[in-house]
Symmetry: C2
Subunit: 699 residues, 2 copies
Amino acid sequence: MEEFDRIFYPDTVAVVGASNNPVKAGYHITRTMIDEKFKGMIYPVNAREKEVAGLKCYASILDIKDKLDLIVIVVPAQYVYDVFVEADKRGDVKGAIILTAGFSETGDPKLMDLEDRIVELARKTNIRVFGPNCLGIINFDNNLITGFAPGLKMTQRDIGFVSQSGALGSSVLMLAGEQPIPLGFNKWGHIGNMCDVSNLDLLNYFGQDKRINTIGMYTEGVKDGRQFLKSSREVSAQKPVFLFKVGRTHMSKKAALSHTGNLAGSDNLYKAAFRQGGIVRVENMEEMVDSCKASSMLPRAKGRRVCVLTNAGGPGIIAMDEIEKDRYVQLAPVSQKSIKKLSKVLPSMAMICEPNGYIDMTAAAMEYEHTESLKIVLEDENVDAVVLIAIPPVYLNPVSLAKAIEDALEKYNKPVTICFMRSEIMDEARKYLEERDLPTFDTPDRTTRALINVIKASDNLGIEYPENNIIPEPYPKIKNWVKEHRNPFEHEGLKMLKYYGIKTMKNGFASSVDEAIALAKDIGFPVVMKIVSPDIIHKTESGGIQLNIRNEHEAEAAYFAITGIVKRKFPKAKISGVFVAPYIHEGIEIITGMSVDGQFGQVVMFGLGGVTVELFKDVSFGIAPFDRDEALKMIHETKAAELLAGIRGDKPKDINMVADLLVRISELSVANPEISEIDLNPVKITDDGYYILDTRIII
Amino acid sequence: MEEFDRIFYPDTVAVVGASNNPVKAGYHITRTMIDEKFKGMIYPVNAREKEVAGLKCYASILDIKDKLDLIVIVVPAQYVYDVFVEADKRGDVKGAIILTAGFSETGDPKLMDLEDRIVELARKTNIRVFGPNCLGIINFDNNLITGFAPGLKMTQRDIGFVSQSGALGSSVLMLAGEQPIPLGFNKWGHIGNMCDVSNLDLLNYFGQDKRINTIGMYTEGVKDGRQFLKSSREVSAQKPVFLFKVGRTHMSKKAALSHTGNLAGSDNLYKAAFRQGGIVRVENMEEMVDSCKASSMLPRAKGRRVCVLTNAGGPGIIAMDEIEKDRYVQLAPVSQKSIKKLSKVLPSMAMICEPNGYIDMTAAAMEYEHTESLKIVLEDENVDAVVLIAIPPVYLNPVSLAKAIEDALEKYNKPVTICFMRSEIMDEARKYLEERDLPTFDTPDRTTRALINVIKASDNLGIEYPENNIIPEPYPKIKNWVKEHRNPFEHEGLKMLKYYGIKTMKNGFASSVDEAIALAKDIGFPVVMKIVSPDIIHKTESGGIQLNIRNEHEAEAAYFAITGIVKRKFPKAKISGVFVAPYIHEGIEIITGMSVDGQFGQVVMFGLGGVTVELFKDVSFGIAPFDRDEALKMIHETKAAELLAGIRGDKPKDINMVADLLVRISELSVANPEISEIDLNPVKITDDGYYILDTRIII
């Protein structure tokens, strides 16, 4: 993306609001860029200063004779628009970074309007705008720093970071700087209010930037969920993307809302977007830094079989606990040959592959044992990656242990994360390893988590996502439905489901008792009967349902019972007749359906039925449309997968069939954007197939 | 505990196996004690050395003329017994610490036996033994260090730490040493194989030690669960106890097993023990250090209402996410008066109590705003504790911000945890605060978690646990049952439940069809009928159950059906007759029961019935006996609480009644230790009461 290249690699930068007063941001920005040796021209702009930080100061950007690529703006909000007027006059400015706060984030309509007018003017003149209310960007290639970064270590590496919070964006720099060797970045950006340039723009740019091989991202929400999914897929197939998303819960969402406007969507949908987009979610800033470090230093994993090699029991068990937390990776099935070799190398006290994949060398292991054991497990075809816990006991020199580890790792192209502990006395050894791109971590859990995240990211590399051009035709009747009423009758809805390849049971509509009895006979007893009325939505609560109707006599009685009760309760309701369908009692109850989300559009929901949904919130979502693989992942995200696979010796149900049902719903959802909601609740899954027992569609 | 005082405060220590060879442990131990200036006499013992580290070396402890309080042993395993023989001869030794590995932890019967013989001899001579396979103890009062602690900072404070792992025990010292001001301990111990002195002994000793006000503990398991519960209660009522327990899952338990022998019990039972014992569980070593630091520095909390005061949105939201993770604390309902005051103090951009309890001062807040806001919320009666996120922006000097915070905190006796970020440039400010006992943390989540843990620990202080002397009489028939068979008939079991105040339904045993019909009529239809046979345990699988018997005719049919089917399937089974009880269909299905655990003895289980138990493992345990409060906590640990409270507008059920059922089961369990298992599955909870639908007792 050339337009961002011009902003991240400007020849000239004007600091509008540059100052000699150390309590002003304009002072720190100018100073920082000079101190960090930005490889370009800096032009301070401030009508009240002749000189700033030893540089000539200009009254206006119009006075700068040189060409002008980028302007950094720190003047108060009311003067910002004028800067863009001047930039418009110049015509050569490519980008603007507004650090000033006090725009749309205040919720004040006047200030929101001011922000809008600035963007409008900038668009006209082809200026891309970062902010307002941001720290802007850092480019470690040319030492461009538009914000201020006290304590920043300008180490260069291949990590790109996009932040929606200034404080968190800064903290990632601080935490990275505190690593045994300061962990470097290639580019960094804090996008503030995102009036123009968004976190997605930077994600895309960093995705295409060959100098970046790992991306970290902090977000409270995205403006366009669909676009986010698209960008995520494109980027995560190229390079690992680690994302820290906050605002999981109701209360924190409220806080996020007041902080970032209206971006905080349901965490459930973000979870779906991360899964479908190949994004690896991290839980805190330490995990972010750990994962970026591991990804930046390590080769990609070719599989999920992890060996835990430790010289201390307690930390080894902690690593095992971490592996089992999300069960994404598995313990490596180390070969008998390797086990034999290990038993020759290791002290007699060692516990070798109990359980398999877990090796406790014990504190008696010296340099030789570390080197040889590592070689043996790395050589093993059944091992894809290794967590090495090598906490040096007092009689083992940390640096000489580090060298022993380096010796073993030299020739194997498998990811290994290494736990020394955080401590001054480990620093030299850890530095030694990290200088050789062997990442070390503070604790066994973090060491293990970093490796798991690298494996997750590796799994997403190279994925070719299906093109979404398989959207079928809209349902012919949908236009009439829109005109007629907001919720089509159940028998009409079922016709639509059938049209899209969803299996429906024989069913029908009867407008008289005789028709109802005949229909029931035709369908075959037992049947259910439900009221059909444009005025009744909640059939159960209105008394409009009779279950398990076993014969003609009961059918007759059911007809009069339903129509009678509804008439009595809702005298004004127009009763069209009754809906008749088979009665199914057995089977596993699931619910599924779709709805339209403000950020993500059509999304499909899946979960176990019954009280489970409400109690355990055990549901998963998919952003429509999706394929069977994705639908299977949705199912496996819930406990329904276990139930469908058969517990207590039950016969396993056809999980692919259930997945296909979800795929069909996803397709019909995007084909018919008029539909705002579908509820199939419950659907019974039996050995024979699935049976949709209730269908509700809202247009 | 005087005996441990004599070990932790010895006048003289012999190092048996002292050495001048730096690759030997005996070198490091002697050196460390000299370097760290142990306040007592050190006597190196080694027949092959004249002098070690400048001190005269003795051939045997028998040669030491001075009295001898403590011996530290690092000679190879085969020589250890002899040292105890010599100690026996001396008669004045109080304690021995065996660092040497290669005893019971190897699983080798010979070495296990050797360990046993050592303990036997030591008991005879009143010597308490730490280890083998341990680092021993550190006393920061007199600089006694029996292990080796490279990089250890001998800062003194009031924390006691007990570790079951040398590596983890050392790591807590390292992590503590890395705090802005090195966090000090009072005493520290690694107990190794626990051949004599156990982690519980140290817990008890630290509990009684007035110099210790906070205890941290790392464990993989305890030998005696009951004793652990008793000690936990005694100690946690006096001072906070934070515990890190690993080996949660099946695989990690296997690793723990091979590491520590057979101590790793079910994590579910440990969870119960922690809840009932007032122990605060932490999830990793960083949280351990954070919690110990916060607890050591802060006053106790008087309630759970927490205010989040932040100058940065992103970190504030992270704090909110953390609060909502376990919902132990709640956001403080800040008073209108305080809100008014805050709005006068804070910049117009600030978000004050949206939601209530959450205050984002924004980056525009300077020293004054921090001081005044803090004062306002601390003054508020509705606020019990504060998470302060005060990440200084570039134009705010960290130290001057720290001073502003100190000013506000001076006169309020409420716990406040403070988030600066981890970074060199924050170090001075963090040091300033921590020197004044104001704890600072690296990230907002850790800041919040530390405060929550202090609040949890505060809630356990001063608790007077009920004496367990309410155990009722054993059931009169139990002795007969033990003689007769392993599982009493259902009607007999129900009599026992009734004896202990558990509500049972009218029920009975019938040995003929006529008796069965008469009994059914007497009970009132509908009823269930079940086979009664000493040879049939699984009634459902054997075809021995008929449900929903609605009249005499069906009762007759059911009798013949049951007896006929069972006879056909199990021709040799002795059929005594049938059990008859009311048929109950409606209600919430729960399961409960008891079993006997190797470590914890009688434990009561509670959970939702149906597939939920298997799918979601949503069960909780209680160590018997317990009272209603504890039973309510058990229920609230599961989703059953929500269901019983009424979802979907259901009428709430009587949760106290359910709790009392659990209490009764807990009581009858301890009253009748002969019983190895009780299963009440299912129990239906209705608006009227509870109905036990199946009872199985195993003796």
